[in-house]
Symmetry: C2
Subunit: 279 residues, 2 copies
Amino acid sequence: MINMRTDYLDSLTNTDFDRSEAQQFRGKCRTGEHSGPTTGFCMKFVQANLVILPKSYAYDFLLFCQRNPKPCPLLEVTEQGSYTPSILAPSADLRTDLPKYNILQSGTITDQVPNISEYWSEDLVSFLLGCSFSFEEALLSAKIPVRQIEENKNVPMYATSIPCRDSGVFRNSKLVVSMRPIPVEMVNDAINVTARFPTVHGSPVQIGKPEEIGIEDINKVDYGESVTINEGEIPIFWACGVTPMKAIIDANLPFAITHAPGHMFITDKLNSELNIFSI
Amino acid sequence: MINMRTDYLDSLTNTDFDRSEAQQFRGKCRTGEHSGPTTGFCMKFVQANLVILPKSYAYDFLLFCQRNPKPCPLLEVTEQGSYTPSILAPSADLRTDLPKYNILQSGTITDQVPNISEYWSEDLVSFLLGCSFSFEEALLSAKIPVRQIEENKNVPMYATSIPCRDSGVFRNSKLVVSMRPIPVEMVNDAINVTARFPTVHGSPVQIGKPEEIGIEDINKVDYGESVTINEGEIPIFWACGVTPMKAIIDANLPFAITHAPGHMFITDKLNSELNIFSI
């Protein structure tokens, strides 16, 4: 278990904190030594979703994120043509430092590759978005159970009836949510803990009434795996990073690159640095 | 004084809440009945800074806001050519509903007008940004004094040495901060109250050490008016909405429109709805 207090103090004295664990992990992705999912690795560090688009779609996508901040919490946008995330990890190379990438052409995944050097061009803009791994660390630190971690599964995710706000070519998308069952006496804490992390989806979008957001059967997931909901637990729904991925697929862009699901970008930032009370 | 608890409950039942006070106030701006500053009017409602730019600068400015969220907390970006802020106030008209506008040409204020209909074109994009009036209401509700309100002055503001992150034509700007002196025993509360409102500048950027951010003389303001700092009070500095205004002037854009200082856009949103624990 992570000692949040120590992380927090470390983050205040910033330059002293040892970020080599994240740098070393990215090095292993670069050489191909690590090619699997990133779940459970570099637990203290912020993991990010990656979306790479031609510049001609960058404004629409940037505005889609601004209009839908809960599913699309934007942490960094690179300069056009640059593969350096200078805020989140200045020593990283976005072309090589993730374990696996999806190549999308006309809304279809046409290739899955361990690096994107051959697909890179000066026309591309990279977007890094927050992911729920960061707030799950905070939930665990607050002794709130995270069921899919206990059951060693992927988080249950559902398509909902909640419309996203449109932006340019990104139209008519619906919100995708993740679900975690929380003991009724801990619901308050779970809301407050996650609300402190707006850059990684923030507070829940729905509590205990899946039918209100178009989820007919809680045991039938649209993505991920279903988990046990015990007596005395309430299903809580958070906005999910699959939303922007789906919006990109729905938009049928001629070309896009994303991380492969679960194969995230490990940044130099600590999860605790995203806490709204420390930024 | 506003009863925050009632506002909060009203905001949860959203559609029931009477937003006519804001609509009526905007109507008075439209007809010219109200032409002065908006300080002290529609106190429950979010007031917003307005920036209007040609579409060719919209990406750079949107990214400038994303990269500098504390001084530039973006609440809404309209569709190109649209003067309707459909999220914040769907019945409003941004061309007429503010009491006063500044017209900028090549970085200089060339006109100050009560409506911008004659300057409007299909090429324009409007940006609405959060302002500190919203968190000041929360400070007052928490019984934390706000000195410039007590002294009936404009808030003291200072140019700092803190660099903004560049984006396109918006380069080499420095952060402008506002200052409020807070009794030492209330500093904790002042931080926590404002941290809950990241869309209106959020937590402070500096506490008690003006010299660390390039402010040589606390009694010499760069904008606004200086206020009394009593024995036992600590000057606290928050990111300020003058920052993006200065960035626009510094960038020497051929054309831009902003609200006139203090003459803000009154939205239909309640301040309490921006609390991170309620969104």
